[in-house]
């Protein structure tokens, strides 16, 4: 169990101004859950994790790990990093190049307060290595391992002490795409099997969506939305979350009126649209209608009896194997859609675009921080090579 209450951490930047890296962040990770902090670089997610690890000293707030108050600004408590019941995997793996595989894993047992017999130590290291499928490599030098193996080694080292919680700081970001996909599954399975409370930090939405029990999306030092992956994806509460998770089309407009429970009408450039709505937005205020590309339906002829239909012109058609990626010009707006490749479309064709109201969500327009990875084009889910970093 990890509980963070009102955590604040500031850094002084080059001009010695104070920058709030973490700004009153609070969350609780229940026993055995997989919790992910997701956000663009510089959003404060890694700083939060390092405060929990004890590698940074927060300015104020409280951090409780496995029933122990490891930091509290009110009581002045601060348990140093090496006294916390935590296992951690670093982004660079931090495998010691001067030690063998065995000695890397045995290190936490050697430096701890508790003494182990040689036999016990060998058994524990063996178990940890087998857990990550590195059995038999004990006598290798750590630097002789491949990137993926080093990653597993770092995991074995973090687990060998049987810590109460596991902290993972972008552990997959240095792996190539194929390996990353496999490690996602393995890591998740391992966590579920051990039922170890896990805090995972990443900027990769796919990792967050596929592995977590709960995701907290962070931006500029605060948690903007917290919830299960499905909820985060389907019901983003803010424009930032909608933009950051998955690819999204956005149409600017003005709130016209409510249409019963959680539904509304928005006046946009392309006409009136019926939309869903997460929270009440005052009539007349500026909003953004977000639609996922996979929810957009294309008609080659004008459909009848459906709402939210707009006529447009096909501007690009890209064959991406699994599907067609089409962009459609709707007046001054451009909408991206994913279509089955059976669809015969060519550039310049006239089409009717249906934006089903169940797939449209009206959100208050906000000024977004300029950061990498929030443009819909670059966060394409199907093509990792397009991703930033």
């Amino acid at each position: 169990m990890i509980e963070v209450t009102s955590l604040v951490k500031t850094f002084s930047d080059r001009h010695s101004d104070r920058v709030k890296a973490v700004d009153h962040v609070s969350f609780k990770i229940e026993e055995g859950r997989f919790y992910t902090l997701l956000g663009p670089s510089g959003c404060g997610k890694t700083t939060t994790l390092r405060c929990i690890a004890g590698l940074e000293k927060p300015d104020s707030g409280e951090v409780e790990v496995a029933g122990t108050m490891v930091y509290s600004s009110t009581t002045g408590a601060f348990v140093p990093a090496y006294r916390r019941a935590i296992g951690m995997v670093f982004q660079s793996y931090a495998i010691w190049p001067h030690l063998t595989v065995f000695e890397n894993v045995a290190f936490p047992l050697r430096v701890g307060k508790q003494r182990y017999s040689a036999e016990e130590m060998r058994r524990k290291v063996q178990n940890a290595l087998e857990l990550v499928e590195l059995g038999g490599l004990e006598s290798r030098m750590a630097t002789q391992l491949s990137g993926g193996q080093q990653q597993r080694l770092a995991l074995a080292r973090a687990l060998v002490r049987e810590p109460q919680v596991l902290l993972l700081d972008e552990p997959l970001s240095n792996l190539d795409a194929k390996l990353r996909e496999r490690m996602r599954v393995e890591l998740r399975e391992l966590q579920r099997r051990l039922r170890i409370t896990t805090l995972y930090v990443t900027h990769d939405q796919i990792e967050a969506l596929s592995m977590s029990n709960v995701i907290a999306v962070m931006s500029a030092g605060v948690i903007v939305q917290e919830g299960p992956p499905r909820e985060i994806y389907m019901h983003p509460k803010t424009q930032f979350v909608a933009q950051f998770i998955g690819s999204t089309n956005q149409l600017a407009g003005r709130m016209r009126g409510l249409q019963g429970e959680g539904a509304c009408q928005v006046e946009t450039d392309v006409g009136k649209l019926s939309c869903g709505m997460a929270k009440d937005i005052p009539v007349g205020s500026e909003v953004v209608v977000v639609v996922r590309p996979e929810n957009v339906i294309l008609h080659t002829g004008k459909p009848s009896g459906v709402e939210n239909v707009v006529e447009g012109k096909v501007t690009t058609v890209m064959f991406l194997g699994e599907y067609l990626d089409c962009t459609i010009e709707l007046g001054r707006n451009v909408v991206r859609t994913h279509q089955p490749h059976s669809l015969q479309l060519r550039r310049g064709d006239a089409v009717w675009v249906e934006l089903p109201s169940s797939g449209c969500l009206a959100l208050s327009a906000e000024e977004l921080p300029i950061a990498g990875g929030i443009q819909p084009d670059t966060s394409d889910t199907k093509n990792p090579r397009l991703q930033p970093d």
Binding site: F107, R110, V111
Partner: protein
């Protein structure tokens, strides 16, 4: 491009062979000959017998070994401690200390020795006198004229180098390697012992090796402290062979060959070692925010250490030189001595012809060797990295060769070469110029090749496509692009040439005397306070010229 493409590399190779290989060849030859420039060549082993068959030589070797390893270890221990305190702990005021720790680099070895003699001489050394009256001691606690004193002075002179290299090592270490140790349950000291120091071991070995080689090659301290104390090391033995009457060039050459081999072995081990450790590195290419250890109350002990180092090693030598330069004779600082203070020494200097002559020589030589060496190495670096000629790497090797040649050995080799050589430059500053350019080729190469690698080939090809000849391209495109490296290398070579001692001692005579040699001879003659004044002028000149050059090069848009 046709002619220069072949001609220029050939000229470069010829120059390098002339500068770096020919003297060594003559040295080897000379060590097997009965006399210098003999009328008929007759090979003999008698020089080697004279040099290596006497038990006396081996006592010298032992001294050399103790001196070199002792000072290397001490400098390494001091430098590493300072670097760790500054880079990795929360010691108060540690950031202020970084530039301060490098200040002693400006102090030439000759002046450093003199300053420490002023401080630690058993008869009149200020520190000794102060400690004796403070603690009520009967005899002086320190004696600089001992092997321990020599080790100390050599070590503190090397500390800035050790410090800089270890700071770089601490900086380039991924802090998560230490953080993961803490996350594994290791405290500050366990992390330091089990991870930090272990990871630094390959680098430490290289640093120790380079300190060892430099101390083995050093001649300033063996000359100024060792010879009066009658503690002779390898370098002073070569000097004495040359200095006795008549000079025993053969034995000197045979001794020089031995020192050359030792030094070359050290350099070879060093380059091999660094290549090994580079292969060993876990590079992540990330900008690190180094981890700071919380020393708790110990941080005040760390601060005390930094402060003590600053006062004793950085400040005192400068102060004692400054103080002595205003005295008519060496006197303990007290109220009576205050009345003696005057500018007499400085007034004397400005009418003292040998001083102005030596000053002129030193400045001309420093300017010329900086310029010639950088021009030459820029050319060589271009050939090595840009010409794509087969065998171009050999030029790189040739230009690197002098790094393994101790100063005094180079001096010996050049004497043997130019005593017999038809070029009448023996006894002129041109011989010194050749010596300095040769000696600093490796440093120039490093500066020049660092920036030439970054000049894209197409920039030069565009000039050729615009109708520029090879030389025009080199002058108008390549050279200006090399300017940052050129300026940095020039400043460095200027400074080290200006203070050069161990090669000049054999080559600079009469008309060609330079400042460091004038210092040495006047100190031997006992004009210690005039020597202090020369030292002060020397330091001020260095600082002024470096400052002016920085300013000028900054104005024309060069970032050294």
């Amino acid at each position: 491009m046709r002619d220069p493409a072949l001609l220029i590399p050939l000229v470069g190779a010829a120059l390098l062979i002339y500068l770096a290989v020919l003297p060594l060849f003559v040295l080897v030859l000379g060590s097997f000959q009965v006399e210098v420039a003999p009328r008929q060549f007759a090979l003999t082993l008698q020089n080697y017998l004279a040099a290596y068959a006497s038990p006396y030589t081996y006592s010298t070797f032992r001294n050399s070994l103790v001196f070199a390893s002792g000072s290397a270890l001490l400098a390494f221990a001091l430098g590493t401690t300072l670097a760790w305190l500054v880079e990795r702990t929360n010691t108060p005021l540690r950031l202020v200390f970084i530039p301060i720790a490098v200040v002693p680099l400006i102090l030439p070895g000759v002046l450093e020795s003199i300053a420490w003699i002023f401080l630690l001489s058993p008869k009149f050394g200020y520190l000794n006198v102060a400690l004796m009256s403070l603690l009520g001691l009967e005899s002086a606690p320190f004696n600089v004229f001992s092997i321990g004193g020599m080790i100390w002075v050599q070590a503190v002179g090397q500390v800035p180098l050790a410090f800089l290299m270890m700071v770089a090592a601490f900086k380039s270490m991924d802090p998560s390697l230490e953080e993961s140790a803490m996350m594994s349950g290791a405290g500050t000291w366990q992390t330091l012992r089990r991870v930090t120091l272990r990871l630094l071991m390959p680098t430490s070995a290289s640093v120790l090796l380079i300190l060892l080689v430099r101390s083995l090659e050093a001649f300033e301290i063996p000359a100024l402290i060792g010879i009066p104390a009658r503690i002779f090391v390898y370098t002073s033995e070569i000097f004495l062979a040359y200095n006795e009457y008549p000079p025993d060039y053969g034995r000197g050459a045979a001794l020089a060959i031995g020192l050359l081999l030792l030094s070359a072995a050290g350099v070879w081990l060093y380059t091999r070692g660094t290549r090994e450790s580079e292969r060993f590195q876990t590079v992540t290419g990330k900008a690190f925010r180094p981890r700071q250890f919380d020393l708790g109350l110990w941080r005040w002990a760390g601060f005390g250490f930094l402060a003590l180092y600053f006062v004793v090693v950085v400040l005192l030598p400068f102060l004692v030189l400054l103080w002595a330069s205003f005295l008519p004779f060496f006197a303990t600082p007290n109220l009576q001595a205050l009345k003696l203070l005057s500018f007499d020494n400085y007034n004397y200097l400005f009418q003292f012809a040998p001083f102005s002559g030596a000053m002129k020589n030193s400045i001309i030589l420093a300017f010329l060797s900086g310029s010639v060496a950088m021009l030459l190495t820029s050319l060589i670096a271009w050939i090595v990295y840009k010409s794509h000629l087969p065998g171009a790497w050999a030029l790189d090797f040739l230009a690197f060769l002098p790094v393994a040649v101790p100063g005094i050995v180079l001096g010996m080799a050049l004497i043997l070469l130019y005593v017999a050589f038809p070029l009448p430059i023996y006894g002129t500053i041109w011989l010194l110029l050749i010596a300095y350019v040769t000696k600093y080729l490796p440093y120039g190469m490093r500066a020049a090749s660092g920036s030439i690698i970054q000049v894209h080939r197409e920039l030069e090809e565009a000039a050729a496509a615009s109708g520029a000849s090879w030389w025009q391209t080199f002058k108008r495109v390549t050279l200006p692009l090399l300017r940052p490296g050129f300026v940095a290398g020039w400043i460095y070579i200027f400074i080290v040439s200006f203070r050069e001692f161990s090669t000049s001692i054999l080559l600079a005579t009469g008309e060609s005397r330079v400042l460091s040699i004038l210092l040495f001879t006047m100190f031997e003659q006992g004009q210690v306070t005039v020597v202090a004044a020369i030292g002060v002028v020397m330091i001020l000149t260095l600082l002024t010229i470096v400052a002016v050059f920085y300013k000028v090069s900054g104005r024309v848009g060069i970032q050294p």
